[in-house]
């Protein structure tokens, strides 16, 4: 069985990645420029996607007692 603390640590990291990605996405929305679009697509979206994947991984790798 995976200790509860492990899944919570993963959820924490997942949240941090998603928050970082969302903050970056928010900043890019303040600017109309090709660089903003690329930052959104190449940094913001991968950070959010990585956070989501980590969240799902923490769910599927968690075994109920």
């Amino acid at each position: 069985m995976m200790p509860t603390i492990t899944i919570e640590r993963r959820i924490r990291w997942s949240g941090i990645l998603i928050v970082l990605g969302l903050l970056l996405q928010m900043l890019t929305l303040l600017w109309t420029h090709p660089l903003a679009f690329m930052c959104f697509l190449m940094i913001g979206c991968p950070l959010v996607a990585a956070g989501m994947l980590l969240f799902f991984y923490s769910l599927v790798s968690h075994q109920s007692p």
């Binding site: 959820i11 996405q25 928010m26 090709p34 679009f37 956070g51």
Partner: protein, 212 residues
């Protein structure tokens, strides 16, 4: 900044706050309500924010302001404002034949399902060249493929002024050849002054009169 963007920024901020709450207090997920909160704040809402943000950026990338924000495109922007009717972009821009805030995109994308995505992919390449490659001179920038008449006919096909113009009946099959792309509208000694950025240096510019 328009209202949609403001709402989207606000929504993204709220999702970020919820995500932060889950990140700082992961022990909340031990309870049922916490599990629902985690699912919403770490999957559903960020996915929604990401999708909406992508749509907003795609929409913005069709704007004239976006296209002309790179230095190398400045001269192409000038060709919209040159005080000379023979310039096709100027004539279209100044007479509102194309929406001024989406002037570039109206003529420079394929009107197909994935046309705008292809254009964006090329745009990504252009940005990389802008910052990491050798930026060509404006007059050296050419289209990837010959300009497709379909982009002109998207609006002009069926227009009386287009179909009845005597210059379009110099030969009986002229319109048919234009429709099948055998005769180019912009490079057959007809409408061949397009952006012509090399000739813009000392050209007079048109300035719209301010509305009182």
């Amino acid at each position: 900044m328009h209202n949609t963007a403001l709402i989207l920024i606000l929504f993204t901020a709220i999702v970020a706050v919820l995500g932060l709450l889950t990140a700082l207090r992961p022990e909340l997920t031990r309870a049922r309500g916490g599990k629902v909160l985690a699912f919403l704040s770490l999957f559903i809402l960020p996915a929604l924010a990401m999708w909406a943000g992508t749509q907003e950026h795609l929409e913005r990338s069709t704007s004239t302001q976006f296209c002309l924000s790179c230095h190398v495109m400045e001269d192409f922007g000038k060709s919209l404002r040159v005080d000379d009717r023979s310039y096709i972009p100027a004539r279209h821009f100044q007479n509102n034949f194309v929406p001024r805030d989406h002037a570039c995109f109206t003529c420079h994308t394929d009107y197909t399902m994935f046309g705008d995505y292809k254009a964006k992919w090329r745009g990504v390449h252009h940005v990389l060249v802008q910052y990491f490659g050798k930026v060509p001179k404006p007059e050296d920038i050419k289209l990837y493929t010959p300009y497709n008449n379909r982009e002109c006919l998207h609006c002009h096909a069926g227009m009386r002024a287009y179909e009845e113009a005597s210059s379009h009946h110099k030969s009986p099959d002229m319109l048919a050849r234009a429709a099948s792309n055998q005769l180019s509208c912009v490079s057959s000694n007809c409408h061949d002054i397009v952006h012509d950025v090399a000739g813009l240096k000392d050209a007079p510019m048109w300035a719209p009169k301010a509305v009182e």
